[in-house]
Symmetry: D2
Subunit: 341 residues, 4 copies
């Protein structure tokens, strides 16, 4: 299948290229970049040295493709999407530009009106676990944000439990430095970013809207930057109106994810990795989901870990692509992650 | 003043020695260690190379001292405390062994009965901000845990606010690797610990009891290990029964800490360090406290940062010592921390 | 092909399992571990969760296999090798026990006499770039150490140049924490290992012997531990008796490695990764080789980077396996590494 | 003494301010910054929050001072120095602009002609260990670069040994990210800088000239960026024309540094920090010097560690200030460093 990537020089773009170059059903035809046009893709993504002779092309040179992946900075895809939809079989948008169904949320969370609100209702969320059927025929797929994907996968199975939720769910999210993208500015300099536990968005984080949209819960999200390059951990604190037991949670999560290829339920009684840990997921498409019961505070803690560039972005996008293209869902996504790393 | 340290080879012990060796009113007479007895203290604490010719002595050789600091592993100080109290002017206990007033909490949180429950009610919490007067005459001072100190300093001023709290406070704590001590085992090996966001205690953390004791709140604490050597960040999520404004929080915290030498209120509108950040507090005795208001979820986020070995242990102990000894409270504690680090 | 791994619970063992489980021509029959016998392999290697239902078996339960990989601690394979050779089609030894041809070097570098010196001359070095033909029929393959592999790949093509070497070659090696293995002891604890530039072996490093054996050069090696989990960088300083130009070095390295699948020549004029950098090689089987000319000191700097668990151990072992088994050399080794990481 | 700092917003400037604010003989009158003029100094240096009410002033507002510290970017101090010398009692220049005595070296190493070559011969190197007397009366003090200071302190005592040196000395330097300064660009972003062992200057590093100037040796320097925020380690490989023993080296270094307050000779037979390690020197003014003998290659390895912002810049500058001002040399420099960190 003939595939193009718009905005392929960022970190999400690089991970997309790594996956697509190894995808047996993909012919990667074009990758655009404003700043790197004309240069070999390995200049931006040194891990791809020798893997491809492709060079970035200017966005103006983009040709029609059967499938188009969009990984531009947030806000740039809004205006161009109608044109891209016209020239592509389908579009997988990794930006935030089509994630929210409610156009009114854009000025609130992204400080800009959405120029094409009609597309928001057409966009299918890039969550194969919940929208597999819809994805098979989607023309526009909106891949959720990394913190949103982790949180939604941790929380959504709980929604049906009696006693959940009768009040806001607290989500404490931690993310690695690649989540800020390649242009991370002064706050992203190593000497400033190393070893931080920075509460960069104690309230008002944009992913709040996505999580609420997909779970129906009221969300109180605080986001922290910690020292790691890749990875998101979402620790979700859910208060119950009745006691719950671990057995019930095992059952609930198994019912939701027992046959999912990329969601693992992790809650071990020994070992060094008893709960989900993003460290060992770098490069993989897994989202590990775990939990703990706090009888003292009548609280359930749901925990999800993923690679923000993997299941939190490019990996998930390729999984959506596989669903949409009728390929086996795990195609090109079999890398299990490294340990130690 | 003649001072001895019991259990001086660990990380908390080392930080204590660093501070006491520079303290103008302290004559550091003895430092005990079971394993390092006979060796120069700099062999365990290489930053003290050349700073002192002291050698560790066996605990059996401990002589009476005017002031005794205890930094043994948790559980060891319980049995010996009566003897130490008898031979010392006063004791500053940095272990968990005398933090909880309620003896019944020890089997629950520490899996052991307390052999001398009568001491628990005599022990004064090592929190100068709240027990300054009691500390001046204390015979036994119990320095709180690092996560507890941060959480208590963040939360206690809020307790008087109307509308706080009518339900459990969620505390998401992150800590650096030195908090596991020198004997951190396989989970503390660099290859396993590097880059983690490990939810090592999603529920049931021991500091829960201390925070509840000092704030009167119900606490839902989840603790994470993140990549940093020093530092604790406590993000406290408080749900309000009425809206609150930043102005009111500024006023509340200023009333509580306006004249405290080691609590700074941090909530800047620009710069790279707008909220409390433990990274820049390594080696200092500061606890920085900040906050954010989340009108969407009617939530208040209180944030506290400190160095787990500083204000979270040894620095705080020296501050308590200064209060108890009638010295200026900032003596030997003027190191401001480093940036970058 | 029926394959077994002896000593599969360490970091090298884990990487081997990751590669072998994805190898289309391998049936992984058994993995031994003294300490983890009976436990699922994912308990030791959490990245393999869900990838296999294999459990570790006791070494006593090892059955004959067509190919046997040995990843025990150094020193343990010496005594057992005759028995393993008798029961296996061929053995790939990742320990140091059969790397040196000269039995006299073992007491010197490893403080133990070699019990089976006759095997040392039979063992073929696991360097496909230089021993491809010998490997095809080898019964015992001795995979070199990680610093040795990097240094040999950087230096061996230079040996034929006139003017090289008329004096010792200085090699400054840096390695990540996984190179110390899972049992890294107190020096490997995160709080001690984080941020170090530790000169742990300024002289006398064991890999000196391997590098001298394979290059014929006199080697002055100093090894440092730096903060990274995976990776080795070998910076080799070669003094010339005549000036040399970059063009000649390009030509020399291209002649040596132009058709090698896993050695890339890296010496870019721009970009962030102009010289070999192990960071982007984690999980890959590449060794990147680069160079610089220092006309001022009439010095040539040859630089090699690899993943100590990849091309420095398990990846290289699988490449040797592919050669020995007559499979395409890149089988199961196509992972390109991640960026950023 | 009335003191001003020109260029006080960078990392070296921040460390200077930290030290000067605690200096009992210094009245810090002004700190200039082009970009931060008008803002509190703690906005740039968050560790100084609450320590001072000073605000940056524009360079145009600089008033005469008894002592002037210069920490501008390299190249900016060249043109202004005559004016600063005219209005100041003395100037301590932390930039590279007056380090080299030979004006011809500037176009070669810094790609610019020096506008005031007459000042180069007047400038006294900021190395109290070797220029203490000259510093007492200096009008212009040129503090060496961080790699240069480490290398000079490691090598200069060896120069008098017979058999040293008859050929270039190889120096392999490793430095932390703060050495790139606050404006470290894309290569300094955390996601790119984390975990690197980057050979950023395998040949041609600027500090080569300083080291050769102060030691008389021919220097073959390769510089690497490793993961740490602070710290420089210089591993110096010296080839001897005769064997040397450890005893002789102890004697040599003790003769040179036995009474130096900030140079420690470190070469322990056990412990985790046997050789100099910059990790434990962050914030201190120590340069630790160690060594190893490699009889195999008839090589001596001299190793020096320091904090690039401490003894490698601001700490050393304050030590020079103390010498020049006739104060005890250790004034304001008694911080011993942290462990662990």
């Amino acid at each position: 299948m003939n595939v193009a990537v718009v905005g392929g020089s960022g970190y999400v773009g690089g991970e997309l290229l790594r996956l697509l170059l190894h995808h047996p059903d993909v012919e990667l035809a074009q990758v655009t970049s404003v700043h790197w046009a004309g240069k070999p893709i390995a200049r931006a993504h040194p891990n791809l040295r020798g893997a491809s002779s492709l060079r970035f092309v200017s966005p103006a040179d983009l040709r029609p493709a059967e499938a188009l992946f969009v990984a531009t900075p947030h806000g740039e895809a809004m205006a161009r999407m109608p044109e891209w939809l016209a020239s592509s079989g389908f579009v997988i948008d990794l930006t935030a530009d089509h994630r929210l169904h409610d156009a009114a949320a854009y000025p609130r969370y992204y400080r800009a009106d959405h120029p094409h609100p009609e597309l928001l209702t057409q966009a299918v969320p890039g969550l194969p676990e919940f929208y597999r059927n819809e994805l098979r025929a989607a023309r526009l797929i909106a891949v959720p944000g990394c913190i949103a994907t982790a949180s939604i996968l941790a929380l959504r199975p709980l929604v049906g439990l009696t006693g959940v939720p009768d009040r806001p769910v607290v989500i404490d999210a931690k993310s690695g430095s690649s989540a800020s993208g390649r242009e991370s500015g002064p706050a992203g300099a190593h000497a400033e970013r190393s070893g931080v536990m920075r509460a960069y968005a104690p309230a008002g984080h944009r992913h709040t809207a996505e999580i609420e949209q997909e779970t129906g819960l009221t969300v109180a999200l605080s986001a922290h930057a910690v020292e790691a390059v890749r990875g998101v951990l979402a620790t979700c604190h859910v208060f119950l109106s009745r006691p719950v037991e671990e057995k019930e949670l095992w059952r609930t999560y198994r019912a939701a994810y027992g046959s999912e290829p990329f969601v693992r339920i992790v809650h071990d009684s020994d070992g060094l990795y008893r709960e989900p840990e993003p460290k060992i997921l770098a490069g993989s498409n897994y989202c590990d989901v775990g939990f703990a019961v706090d009888a003292h505070a009548q609280r359930l803690v749901a925990i999800a870990a993923l690679d923000n560039l993997g299941k939190g972005a490019a990996g998930n996008a390729v999984q959506c692509f596989n669903v949409r293209a009728g390929r086996p869902e795990t195609t090109a996504l079999d890398f299990p992650g490294l340990h130690p790393i």
